[in-house]
Amino acid sequence: MTETTLTSEAALKRLKKRRGKEWRFRLWGRASIAFALAALAWLLFSIVGTGYTAFQQHFMRMDFQLTESVLAPDGTRDPEILRGANYRKIVQTTLYEQFPEVTGRKDKQELFALVSASGATNYLRQLVYKNPDLIGKTVTVTVPASDQIDQLLKGYIKRDTPESRRKVSNQQIVWADILKERGVIKKKFNRILFMNPDSRDPELAGIAGAAVGSLMILVVAFVLAFPIGVGSAIYLDEFAPKNKFTDFIEININNLAAVPSIVFGLLGLAVFLNFMGMPRSLPIVGGMVLALRVFPTITIATRSAMQGVSPSIVDGALSLGASHTQAVFQQKLPLAAPGILTGSIIGMAQALGETAPLLMIGMVAFVTEVPNSITEPATALPVQIFLWSDSAERAWAERTSAAIIVLLVVLITMNGFAIWLRNRLETRR
């Protein structure tokens, strides 16, 4: 009987083996979590590392002389005519004044390339259009520098590469440095990135259009998917007869949640665009496609939230003479609400990140206006990222990463809000 005592050699051996197993399992667990964290850190580091510089940009603050003989030679103040005036000339003159020694035509061209040509001219045009009285006066305004100069001063364009292999000439480098010393060129917070729609010029491109488009798409998707998803979940769980047919429907809703999103894009293309003849690139169509994508997620979340409510609550309501509908809507649904809301928010976060289905319905278009309604062409944040990532110039790289940072921040906020909401609603019980 000595073999069976608690401290026998065999027992100790078994104990050691058991402890070893547990130790190894813990090690595995920690290793996997460490791997996950490392992957996340790497992702964040690489994106934030390339993207954070885009939140600042180089601007030029100069005195622009709004000469009447250039802008309105015939003395008109008609805004429509002033719109077409030669602002380019004003900008050129202002820049040339900084370096009076520059005379050659080619040198002047290079000098003019320091400023964002369309950025500066458009800015002045807007200014004069809104306030024609400014003509003849001198205004001190800040306009964006060209993206090449911005990249140079941020250090992305290396000064030690041979001149022939970089887009900024030696002469331009000298001018940029002088202007920086004079305080004309300054690095400032890049409002353009948040306030502007897309543009061909990186220094003028922003995510405002895409963000508004994404918001519209999400609103449409939510308005469609939430009632459909929650409604079908309640009906399937509480009121539908339990038979082969409802089993079949249930399986298919689960399948729908797992269908690759590009398939929904193809469906949207075939049904909404080709069959129903809706125009391309509209937020309303994008929202409808993403509603299809999201509603199975909401249905599944709702069902699991409802199944988590103790049946005794429904029994209690029924036993008091509540009808089935009353018991479900007055007692069960409020208890399932935190789970339903969390599931829906996470579903919407998924929708926000969807790119493929939007590409299929033409939301990949180059849109330079912030959309005003869901029936105006728009693009979405992830699509904007896709578009920018495809552009060649160096300045797009940091903007792509910056847009990704914005998207990630929104996603983290949404998911954090979902967790906060769940905790709050659950502790209130």
Binding site: K242, S310, S312, I313, D315, G316, A317, L318, S319, L320, G321, A322, S323, H324, Q326, Q330, Q331, L335, R429
Partner: protein, 255 residues
């Protein structure tokens, strides 16, 4: 027996779950007022039988009830009878206390609200107070009616559930092992409450505790394997049972 009025008349009641017959034709008359206890080993069908009186079995998929159950001469399985109205007259208290996760006040007011029993806030307040008083809970909760019903102790929760049932003025209260989740002190309070309530209501209680059945009930029915074995005045069942299986069960030889 002081109460000779019959509340429920049951004839050949059979309950099927799918192909399985859980009750094999029960004939029983349940008196109005007073407490009738259903006892028997687990799985004998006593809870199933209890749930036929307020048609709670209707909510279980594949459950069929046949035979006749009349309450005050009215067939409660009549096709034209709305089980929702029946349940307003036949209240139920479950094994595990199941107050709604709402305030104590809202728990009691829920039934009156859905049935539109009161026409003003003052009337509802009065009804809530009356129900809580009858359930012997008023003095313990009168200062915290706005607090959640789930924050009460198990015994208080069970009395809250009883108050909730009383608030819709039922004639019958079904109790499915109401004390099985309670400690002895809470159980004693609950039994004292049952003692009071039986003056006004017909109470049917399912219990696993022989002692409880002996203490609170006027009549006792012993079920075994889906059959009603013996039904008589409680005193007789516990002192001089007519059937050997009843004898075995109450003395602890089967169970």
């Amino acid at each position: 027996m002081t109460h000779d009025n019959i509340k429920f008349t049951c004839r050949d009641v059979r309950v099927h779950y799918g192909d399985f017959e859980a009750l094999h034709g029960i004939d029983i008359d349940i008196p109005d007022r007073g407490v009738t206890a259903f006892i028997g080993p687990s799985g004998c069908g006593k809870s199933t039988f209890l749930r036929t009186f307020n048609r709670m079995n209707d909510t279980i998929d594949g459950c069929r009830v046949s035979g006749k159950i009349h309450m005050d001469g009215q067939d409660i399985y009549d096709k034209n009878l709305d089980p929702v109205l029946l349940r307003a007259q036949v209240g139920m208290v479950f094994q595990k206390p199941n107050p709604f996760p709402k305030s104590i006040y809202d728990n009691v007011a829920y039934g009156p609200r859905i049935h539109g029993l009161t026409s003003s806030k003052a009337e509802l307040d009065a009804l809530v107070e009356k129900s809580l008083r009858r359930a012997g809970l008023w003095d313990e909760v009168k200062d915290r009616l706005k607090l959640s019903g789930t924050g009460l102790s198990g015994g208080q929760q069970q009395r809250l559930v009883i108050a909730r049932a009383i608030a819709v003025s039922p004639e019958v209260i079904l109790m499915d092992e109401p004390a099985s989740a309670l400690d002895p002190i809470a159980t004693a309070k609950l039994e004292a409450l049952i003692e009071e309530l039986k003056e006004r209501y017909c109470i049917i209680i399912v219990t696993h505790s022989m002692a409880q059945a002996a203490r609170v009930s006027d009549k006792t029915a012993f079920f075994y394997m889906g059959d009603l074995i013996e039904y008589d005045v409680t005193e007789k069942i516990f002192t001089n049972p007519g059937n050997s299986r009843t004898q075995d069960y109450i003395t602890g030889r089967t169970g």
